[in-house]
């Protein structure tokens, strides 16, 4: 059992030394002044954007996942651990988008941390679930601004609980954000009218756009199924290529956080062109400006900009 002894001494020494150090440093520091701002940690870029819009100048938001990061491939950094531990409030998407990390967050919630899944306010009747697997809802609700609006209520509620003194301010900003999302949906509906209804077919890498399709009247065809990890079957590729030719679909789309290989292959097989790159599980780089054909410009590093980018890309390619 010598190894065991060695393990324990190896551990004891640094523990002892640093425990002394902690005590020493702990005695030296002055008591902290009372906190002014609410510290919010958010998982995906969409959740972080929503949180930042509601918290305004009453707090700051730390997003864990960067632009273009597939939530499945996200790796925690040392800083992220401290962000989560020191946060007053943790917001995540939920509906299994964050995978096992969500279990961890729920356990943190049970131990007294304020943790909210922003999608918990979306009525179950509005959620899409696969026919054969009840309860495993599609997590990509942000592609319908109306559904994402429900999430605003949850965020307002969460922030008011974390910081009751400023509840009024969160309420006000929440209302403003909701009206912006409403305007976004109206803008989208009007913009989409440029495509005749029978031409509204969206072919992409994975099934991220079902809520989008439902909201704007698109038939959505995901090549890979809903997981970004599964691969397209050969029969699927042939079937989709045939489908594209039959329906004379003008363009198909790649996604920013999924490998474009399969879509490129289908594009080659069916002779249809690739209409552009859509954002799916993450938004673009902050400060990257794009402009719509109507002259308005938007930042693809924001939720609204990301949504407009997707819609403009789709409509311009298909009309």
């Amino acid at each position: 059992m010598k190894n065991v002894l060695k393990q324990s001494t190896m551990l004891t020494w640094p523990v002892f030394v640093f425990a002394c150090l902690t005590l020493f440093l702990g005695c030296g520091s002055e008591p902290q002044p009372s906190r002014k701002t609410l510290k919010v940690a958010a998982t995906t870029t969409m959740v972080a954007d929503l949180a930042a819009a509601v918290v305004g100048e009453n707090g700051e938001v730390h997003g864990l996942m960067g632009p273009g990061v597939d939530p499945h491939l996200y790796k925690a950094t040392a800083g992220d651990v401290n962000t989560l531990q020191s946060a007053d409030l943790i917001l995540y998407n939920g509906l299994h988008l964050e995978g096992r990390m969500a279990d961890l967050l729920v356990r943190l919630g049970r131990r007294g941390k304020l943790v909210y899944a922003v999608t918990e306010g979306v009525p179950e009747s509005e959620l899409l679930e696969p026919e054969e697997f009840a309860g495993h809802y599609d997590p990509h609700v942000w592609f319908d601004p109306n559904l994402w609006s429900y999430c605003v209520d949850t965020v307002v509620e969460a922030m008011s609980e974390a910081d009751p003194a400023n509840a009024e301010a969160y309420e006000q900003r929440g209302l403003k954000v909701k009206s912006e999302y409403e305007a976004l949906r109206e803008w989208g509906e009007a913009y989409v009218n440029q495509i005749p209804e029978d031409k509204r077919i969206l072919v992409t890498s994975h099934d991220a756009y079902n809520y989008f399709g439902q909201a704007f009247g698109f038939q959505v065809v995901g090549v890979q199924g809903i997981s970004t990890m599964s691969e397209a079957g050969l029969a699927d590729i042939v079937k989709i290529s045939e489908f594209i030719k039959e329906k004379e679909i003008k363009a198909i789309f790649v996604e920013s956080s999924v490998s474009p290989a399969t879509i490129q292959r289908i594009s080659k097989d069916s002779g249809t062109r690739i209409g552009g790159e859509l954002f799916s599980d993450a938004m673009g780089l902050k400060g990257h400006l794009e402009s719509a054909p109507d002259g308005s410009s938007f930042d693809v590093g924001t939720y609204k900009g990301m949504f407009k980018h997707n819609l403009v890309t789709i409509v311009e390619a298909l009309k």
Binding site: T77, A78, G79, V81, D103, L104, E131
Partner: protein, 326 residues
């Protein structure tokens, strides 16, 4: 996006703060890094000798049909059914690898390739045929993340908090591995180096092969669940491989592996803190750097010594290395 490729090194941020401000996170992440590296390293020493070093990578792929079947049977993506499916798939993987190599002329590396690619393919087929509409992949439903260890539930024993659940579990698994090693040391040693000799001593090599690899599959899957995949695959290989560059004697290799494991955990954590990067990645990079240093600078067999020695007397040195290699 980072503002600069390499952030300035700040002693305060990278060394002092983790052990003062964030002591409670740091201690458990470093301890967990050490425990995973030491446990995987301990078993790794034997699997390297058996030319099965890539079995960790193999299992990370071949558990796909296990979790898919577990999901189809339970309609749940909770950790428990996923773990059970993954362990079952891991056990099947190593049992098949052993069966192929023991009953045919196929070498272990080829046997690993055959088994894991077939099982992975079965998993892909199962998912695309039956579970296409849910998000089901090991990265998302099974693999853990070493960075989250401090946030896990703490085990309290007799009023004292003794640590996060995964750390305690890993320590128990490590102790079991150590206990098994001490109990079956002679048998493992002989069967790893010379199956023929083992048989003549009345030790059934097949039984120990199965025993070791079955235990291995349980260790690997539970480590995946606690800390993710890259750290486990790396730690099955690095501690043993690095130590083997320094000595030939198995007891020393095992001791050195434990020592290296501590270094990986500690230095890797600080590297990750400095760069604000993935912690498992940091620990693995440190393991790679230490391996490279040892490879070049090892006192007896390092590249440097070989190079210097070669220019003096070529013959004696190469012949002794060949004998050892054979």
């Amino acid at each position: 996006m980072r503002d600069q490729f390499l952030p300035a090194f700040s002693f305060q941020n990278a060394i002092i703060e983790p052990w003062s401000l964030y002591f409670d996170s740091t201690i458990w992440i470093v301890t967990m890094g050490f425990l995973v590296a030491a446990t995987c390293g301990l078993i790794g020493c034997f699997i390297i000798l058996r030319r099965m070093a890539l079995v960790g990578d193999a299992i990370s792929h071949s558990l796909l049909p296990g979790i898919t079947l577990a999901f189809l049977l339970t309609n749940s993506r909770d950790t428990l059914p996923m773990m059970i499916g993954a362990i079952a798939a891991g056990v099947v993987t190593v049992a098949l690898i052993e069966a192929i190599r023991q009953s045919s002329r196929i070498k272990p590396d080829a046997a690993i390739g055959i088994v894991f690619s077939s099982l992975f393919a079965i998993g892909v087929v199962l998912i695309s045929a039956y579970a296409d509409t849910v998000d089901l992949d090991a990265e998302c439903v099974l693999y853990g993340e070493i960075g989250w260890i401090p946030l896990e539930d703490r085990i309290v024993l007799g009023g004292h908090e003794i640590g996060p659940l995964p750390v305690i579990r890993m320590a128990v698994i490590g102790l079991i591995a150590l206990g098994l090693l001490l109990t079956f040391y002679k048998e493992l040693l002989v069967t790893s180096f010379d199956a023929g000799l083992a048989a003549s001593l009345g030790i059934n090599p097949g039984r120990y092969q199965y025993g070791l690899t079955l235990f291995l599959s349980v260790v690997i899957v539970s480590s995946f669940e606690s800390v993710g995949v890259i750290l486990v695959i790396a730690m099955l290989i690095f501690p043993g491989a690095t130590s083997m560059l320094l000595t030939d004697r198995l007891p020393r290799i095992l001791w050195l592996s434990a020592g290296f494991s501590g270094l990986y955990g500690l230095l890797g954590f600080h590297l990750a803190t400095w760069l604000d990067a993935s912690i498992a990645g940091g620990m693995t990079v440190v393991a790679g750097i230490i391996f490279t240093l040892v490879w070049i600078l090892a006192p007896k067999r390092g590249l440097l010594v070989k190079f210097v020695f070669k220019s003096h007397s070529k013959g004696a040195r190469t012949s002794s290395i060949e004998t050892q290699a054979g």
